[in-house]
Structure formats: structure tokens, C-alpha cells
Subunit: 344 residues, 2 copies
Amino acid sequence: MSKPLTNRKEVAKLAGVSEATVSRVLNGVGPMKESTRERVLDAAKRLNYELNAVASSFARGKSGNLGVVLPYVPKVHLFSTYYFSELLSGIGEAVRSKGYGLLLLFRDPSAVYDYASLYRTQRVDACIVLGTNTAETELEGINRLAEERLPFCVMDQKFDNPLVSIVAADHEQGSYDAVKHLISKGCQRIGFLNGSMQYSNSWDRMSGYLRALEEAEIKFDESIVYQGNYSRTSGKNAAEDVYRDLNELDAIFVGNDRMAIGLMQGLREKGCRLPEDLKIVSYDDSDAASLTEPPLTTVKVPFFEMGRLAAERLLALLADKENSEPIISEKLQTELKVRKSSGS
Amino acid sequence: MSKPLTNRKEVAKLAGVSEATVSRVLNGVGPMKESTRERVLDAAKRLNYELNAVASSFARGKSGNLGVVLPYVPKVHLFSTYYFSELLSGIGEAVRSKGYGLLLLFRDPSAVYDYASLYRTQRVDACIVLGTNTAETELEGINRLAEERLPFCVMDQKFDNPLVSIVAADHEQGSYDAVKHLISKGCQRIGFLNGSMQYSNSWDRMSGYLRALEEAEIKFDESIVYQGNYSRTSGKNAAEDVYRDLNELDAIFVGNDRMAIGLMQGLREKGCRLPEDLKIVSYDDSDAASLTEPPLTTVKVPFFEMGRLAAERLLALLADKENSEPIISEKLQTELKVRKSSGS
């Protein structure tokens, strides 16, 4: 029913070049005359080679898949959270353009995940680890993977292991910018509703918050630091404590938009006027941030770009191991989006 | 480094049952004494069999993956759309509980996608097709797949082919409910901003709209039917025409929340007060629907449950072909969520 698979040899013959040249063009490796490149791409297209290249990767002992390993969290519609959906969109963009598949795998965060078996059984050629944290089991899984020197990348979580590849955003600077903005609006008493401390980026947010306070010679007051877990419900629950301290507070910095939305909902139910009674700056710049009333001033995190970058770097490593840096270490910049919730 | 794979024989031996019994218990097939079931599950757990079951599926010529084939749409952050993210969360829930992987693959909607090769090359054991439509290339790809009698399911799109498995929602009824609600609020002149007509569910929405009008003896007026494409931008663009007809309209039914949010934004920029100047009912009940001002009255579609159901049915078919219906045909009910945008 279907044509037999086209091979590299046929493409080389049609283009009038060597097989090695075909590989270099299709993998985007090394310098190449533009006319040669075009001739190869044209021949590959005419022979419908691109799709088959992935299929034939099986014959070479490759899966043609980039793995994405996610924590399984009961009752959370994981792909509906802005963080995961944007990272995945970015990863998807990169794998699609290279003809790879994206294999989603769920790990139980309470057990040590056996990443290496994914490579051994040829389910993936490389993988990206999302939503990991400092739990013992999570650290152990990542460290074992790093020891095997298999191609992988952790997203947005720090590890004290130079063999661990990481793509992250600069949350220390992002948080500093957020709090500094509030200070520039005349706020002195600035509360902080942070997310779970098992994520290194929660510590980064705390560091940025402290740096901005210190620079403005505002004394840190632990009694106005509140603890959430990045869910909307935890934000709404925090409204209780924040409302109690309302006379003490000029503003609050919130670790993500979801918590901020819950907090605003909780405060409004108690009769608060926002931003008059409390200025708010949050984090992520999710779709919802511009829809709330008042719209949220928030720190935009380039999740899509982070996902795309991690995937592109891993696929480049697979395509040309010799000329690629084996350890990926990237930190992307955030951007403050000023809207009405900070009294702007 | 890792243990050799546990096989079914070892589990059977430890549990003191036959290998066939182990299969039946682990695949959840047929009646089984509870004590036997527990003994097998206990043995499987002690031997760490579940994970290895998927790994060993390779030896049996299986991939251990459920494929999800998505259209690639440039510049759209696909996983960030409510429709895709909820469907995927539901599919993810089902595959996770069975230890499968979820392989995302992107198709170019302008070419006939070669689904069969995914099975032939053992990349997937079954697949779910998302976002398909009535374009020639799309029909051709699905019809070829159906002819091969391979396990697959199309999501939320009708096909005139009894061999095509479909899980859908009842959008005709959902739309009827939406429009009937507006009529019950005293509205007579009800516009309709629909999405792209290449999706069968856009036709379903039109049918439901017409049925509600007819039942109330309201004459259909083509001049107040507006065309969008389910994007927020298309909703905002439609604001131009809707504003022009504002004196003609009591209300508008909008095909999804994204378009409704764009439309509301566009109308507000022209100075409209909502819902005073125009009542709105939309469709989906995405997260954003309750965040807008006013909050949207909208038809909740059980995307999560649709995704989970399709995946569960396919995995059951893989586990026990003999005792499963090969063609899946399910239609789930929607639910009207009444909020302030319809003047409630």
C-alpha cells in the first residue's frame, strides 16, 4: 500500500552529491554552499525523504522520539496549567520542525524514576525532565541519569551536579524587578505569597524579593511572608491571612498568576477594593493575567522559548554529537508587564 | 545496573496461578475472585512487574505508546488552547494509569498523513486523531486508516464512514440549550458568531441554534450570522460588524470562549456596556470564562472526560481484542453554565 522507504543513497543520487553531504544538509551541520543545500533539500522533498528519515531511524536503533517526563499529580489537569502547556508548545515546535515525535511519560514523584531504561529500550533518543524538585527520589533519578551521560535536560530547576543540563529563567532578577516596581510606586510594606519551597525557583523568588528590599533599606519581616503551593486554591486560602494583615500591607508580591487570581477572588469576597486596598504584582504572565479585574501586573516568563531551546539543543546534540556541547546551561531573561493591579 | 526484566511467568509462580490468570488480572479482563486478584497484584508489585510490562512489550513487537496526532498550526501555542490541553490531560490520565506512554505527533494538514506507518514501524499501538476536519487530505488520511482496521479514534469530528471510531460531545444539544436560555431571558434578535465550517461541530452548533429559533417561532436571519475561526483575534475582528448591528441585536451566541473574549474586548473598546447593551452566551467553559468581566455564561464541554474515554476504550481494545467492540462511538453531554454575561 505504501511506497518502500526512500534512503539517503537515492537522495544523494538525485541531488548528485555524496551521502555524507545529504546527512550534513539534513542535519544542518557544518558550512554548505547554498546551491548544494537547495539541491539536496529539493531532492529529499521530491522523494518524500523527511518522513521516512524518522521511520528509518528505527533501523539504526533510534526511536525518533524526544521524551518529556512529567510528574503525575492526581486531579491536576496538567496540560491545562500555563507552565506545562507553554513549555510543551515550545518543545513541540522544535520536535515538529525536525520530524521527531514527542513522547510524554509520567513519573511517580515518590519513586526513583528509571530514566536510563527509556534509552535502553529505545523509547527515546533524549529527554526533557519537567516539574522536578528537591525530593530525595527526584534528585536520585536525575543524578543517575547524569552519571550515564545520556542526553537530557532539566527544565527550570537547579542541581548541584555539573553533569546536569539545565534550561531555566532568571527568577531572582524577575522577582527583584517585581518588588522594585512596587517600591517605585511608594510601597514600603510589601508582603510575599510564595509557592512550594521544594522548587529551586521559589528560593530564587525569595532571593530577588530580599535583594530589592535590602537595596531600598526596607527591613525584612517574616510575618508578612505567606506560603502557598502555586495553586489557585492555595491563593484563595491565603486571603484569610492577608486580609487579617491588610492594615499592615501596602502591596503583595505573589509567586504565580494562579495564586494571585485565587487571592484576589478571596479578598474581593471579603469586600476589598483592588488595587486601592492592596497593590499586587504576580508572576508568569499567563493568558488569564490580562483578563482579571484589575488586570495583573506580572513577570512574563518565556516558557515557550525555554521549551523550544531545550529541545533544539538536545536535537542538535543528537544530530552532531562531535560538534555540540554535551552539557546545556541556559538562563533566559524575564520581563515585567505593568498593568493596573499594581496601581499603574 | 538494572535488574533483568521480570516476566509474567515469575509473577504467575510467585502468585501460584497460571500465566493466563496473570494476564487477565493485569489487563482487568473478565471476572476474577478478589483473593486471586490481590495475590497477583501483590506478586506483580513485589517483582516490580508493572513498569517492566511496558518495557517487555517491545519484545512482543509493541511500542507501549498511544499516539496522539495533532495538526501543526504555525504560531499557535497548541497546548495552551483549552480544547487541546483538556483533551490531552484526559488522555494522559488514562495512559498513565495503564503505564503507557503518550506519543505526540504533528501532521501537516495540507498533506495526506500516513497513519499506517506509525503502526508498521511500531511507534504506536493505537492512536487518537485530534483537530481533524473535512479537508480532502484529512478525510483521505482517516479513511485509509479505517480501511486498515487499525485501532484508532477520532475526536469530536463526524465522518461518513462506519469504520471510523469517534468520541464526541453533543454540540447540537449544547447550542440549542444556549440559545434557548437567551430566549428564556426575553431575547428575540439573537446573533450567532460561529467558528470555521470545516469542523462538523460548527455545523452542529448551527443546527442547535436553528432548532431553538424554530421552536420559539423566531425567523432565522442570515444577516446576523457572523463568521470567525475560533481564535480570539477573529472574535475581536467580528466586533466591528456586531457593533454596526448593535441596535438590531438583543444577544449573541458565540461558538467558543476565545472568540467571546475577543468580541467582548472589541465591543468594550467601542464603549459598549456588557451585558446591558448585548447579552452573550458562549461555548467551552474554559478557565478564562469565569475570569472575564462580566463572567461568561457558557456551555461546558467535557473535554477531559472525552479524552480519557477515548484512550481508555482504545487501551481496553489493545488489552483484549476478542471481547472489545472494535468501533468506538460515544457522544457525551454538555452542560450550560449560567453567569452574568447573559444578564443572569
